[in-house]
């Protein structure tokens, strides 16, 4: 599923990891919130777009654009405003690392 070493590196780079122990643990909890609409492991489901395996930069840019209302949406603007810059980077890196 997830190459855990590169995931850990991505998470550290994303700045979310307060404790090293988390690297061995699950997805960042911020990313867990996305699974209720974007399918199992972000694989996409019905009208929920696939997030898994997409470029981290692309995902982070989309989220920042929603947050700044540069991109229209029915709901993602309201969602993206709840997360910090570090969380957006970590969530994008997490989904990008899923193969």
């Amino acid at each position: 599923m997830i190459p855990s070493r590169s995931l850990a590196a991505a998470l550290v780079a994303g700045g979310l990891l307060a404790m090293p122990a988390q690297a061995a643990g699950p997805a960042p909890l911020a990313a867990q919130g996305c699974l209720g609409c974007h399918g199992p492991n972000g694989a996409g489901l019905a009208s929920g777009a696939r997030l898994a395996g997409r470029d981290a930069q692309e995902l982070a840019t989309l989220l920042r654009d929603y947050r700044a209302d540069r991109r229209p949406g029915t709901i993602m603007n309201r969602i993206a405003r709840g997360y910090t810059e570090d969380e957006i980077a970590a969530v994008a890196a997490y989904f990008a690392a899923i193969r």
């Binding site: 979310l16 307060a18 404790m19 122990a21 988390q22 643990g25 699950p26 997805a27 909890l29 911020a30 867990q32 919130g33 699974l35 209720g36 609409c37 974007h38 399918g39 199992p40 489901l45 019905a46 009208s47 929920g48 029915t74 709901i75 309201r78 969602i79 405003r81 709840g82 997360y83 969380e87």
Partner: protein, 422 residues
């Protein structure tokens, strides 16, 4: 509740202890009570993310009927099979599932007694038993009354939701469907208003001379402007909502006569009556001494650990998570933080940073969906909503927004139930 009862339980557990306890060598034992939105999410998250855990789930039902989308069944948009889920996926994931009731928790001894007689020892307990209806809190509304005036607010085996649906089908055109709505806090703040909408949708199609009379113990409610815009546009004067300040508070019900009587004595005779009753945390929480005076459990906002028993994480509707709503999505979100925190504690580590997520979609009618989003973090004295985030769908004449949200709502249901049950 009674200390005597707990002491008695402790003693009987001590007598039973050793032979009844089973433990795989070395594996930490995570016990989950309740296989609904919180419990199923917790069990599956624990099993898939922390394979070293031994996960046991106790849930009396062999099939779980969701509250979410139950209102769509009332509207005729879903069948019972569409909202019923089996535990096969969780079992296949390696979770031990016991279809039994947890009857008593010995927090000090870290043991749970089941109705079937078995006693389970745990290292960490996740408690997600949902709500109990406070029968008797609304005069006239006891367990027997629920057969005449269904609540359809606790999933059970789905029989309450089906009973309400059958009553709607059997009523004559021209009748009044009454809905009694409680004061805060209660399960699913927008739920009663989605129910008004879905019943109105059914009546408009099949019994157009009928109406919905919603009698509310409050003066304001979730997504109020959006709901009222939708009712006006779709149902005209078929829907009447009466706030507490206009004598909307139901003070007594008469199940035999199907009458709702308000605070100031007005008696509404109904063709069908739906009572959404006052609620508390589920019985097991009250009986184990884990609830505060309010009837809900107090928890640490960072870990969901009970303020009364640190090895028990209480998630879902049973805790006092205000200002977070009592929703399926919050149950799912708090489940994951509770499991991650329990594992961190077992490893002697600090809990991870918490961020809790909620979305509640509501269907107002055909191709007409609305939503509310809330993102929360732990604060010094409880849960705090992230400023300038979340909120409700925009108001106004926005048919494309409404059409898309109805579609995305269906995606949410499919996606969250996959996250729970696999």
């Amino acid at each position: 509740m009674p200390i005597t009862r707990r002491a008695a339980l402790g003693a009987s557990l001590a007598a039973l202890a050793a032979p009844a306890l089973s433990r795989a060598q070395g594996a930490a034992r995570l016990l989950v009570i309740g296989g609904g939105f919180g419990g199923a999410s917790a069990a599956r998250f624990a099993r898939t993310q922390y394979p070293e855990l031994q996960v046991t789930l106790v849930e009396p039902l062999t099939r779980f009927v969701t509250c979410p989308y139950g209102n769509l069944l009332l509207g005729g948009y879903r069948q019972i099979g569409d909202i019923t889920h089996s535990y096969d996926g969780l079992r296949a994931a390696g979770i031990r599932i016991l279809h039994d009731w947890a009857e008593g928790i010995d927090a000090a001894g870290k043991r749970v007694r089941l109705r079937g007689g078995e006693t389970l020892a745990y290292d960490k307990l996740i408690l997600s038993p949902g709500i109990a209806i406070r029968y008797g809190a609304l005069p006239g509304y006891d367990e027997a009354a629920a057969q005449a005036l269904p609540h359809a607010w606790v999933p059970g085996d789905g029989s309450q939701t089906l009973l309400l649906r059958r009553q709607l089908e059997a009523m004559e055109d021209g009748g009044v469907v009454g809905i009694s709505i409680p004061a805060n806090p209660f399960r699913c703040p927008p739920g009663p208003y989605e129910r008004i909408s879905m019943i109105a949708a059914y009546l408009k199609r099949h019994k157009p001379r009928s109406k919905v009379l919603a009698l509310d113990a409050k003066d304001a409610f979730s997504k109020q402007g959006l709901f009222q815009d939708g009712w006006k546009a779709l149902y005209g004067d078929m829907v009447e909502w009466v706030p507490a300040s206009k004598d909307g508070k139901v003070a007594r019900v008469d199940p035999a006569a199907k009458v709702f009587e308000t605070e100031f004595g007005e008696r509404h005779r109904l063709a069908v009556g739906n009572v959404i009753p006052p609620q508390s945390a589920a019985r097991i929480v009250l009986d184990s001494g884990l609830a505060a005076q309010t009837g809900w459990a107090e928890v640490d906002p960072r870990t969901l650990a009970s303020r009364a028993a640190p090895d028990i994480h209480i998630i879902g509707d049973a805790n006092n998570g205000a200002p977070m709503p009592k929703s399926g999505y919050i149950a799912n979100s708090t489940a994951k933080q509770a499991v991650a925190s329990a594992v961190a504690a077992l490893r002697g580590e600090a809990p991870p940073e918490a961020v809790y997520f909620n979305t509640c979609y509501s269907h107002v009618g055909d191709d007409y969906g609305i939503s509310i989003v809330g993102i929360f973090r732990p604060g010094p004295n409880g849960f705090v909503e992230v400023p300038n985030s979340g909120g409700v769908s925009p108001r106004g004449d926005l048919p494309e927004q409404r059409r898309l949200e109805a579609i995305h709502a269906d995606t949410w249901y499919a996606s969250i139930t996959r996250d729970m049950f696999g």
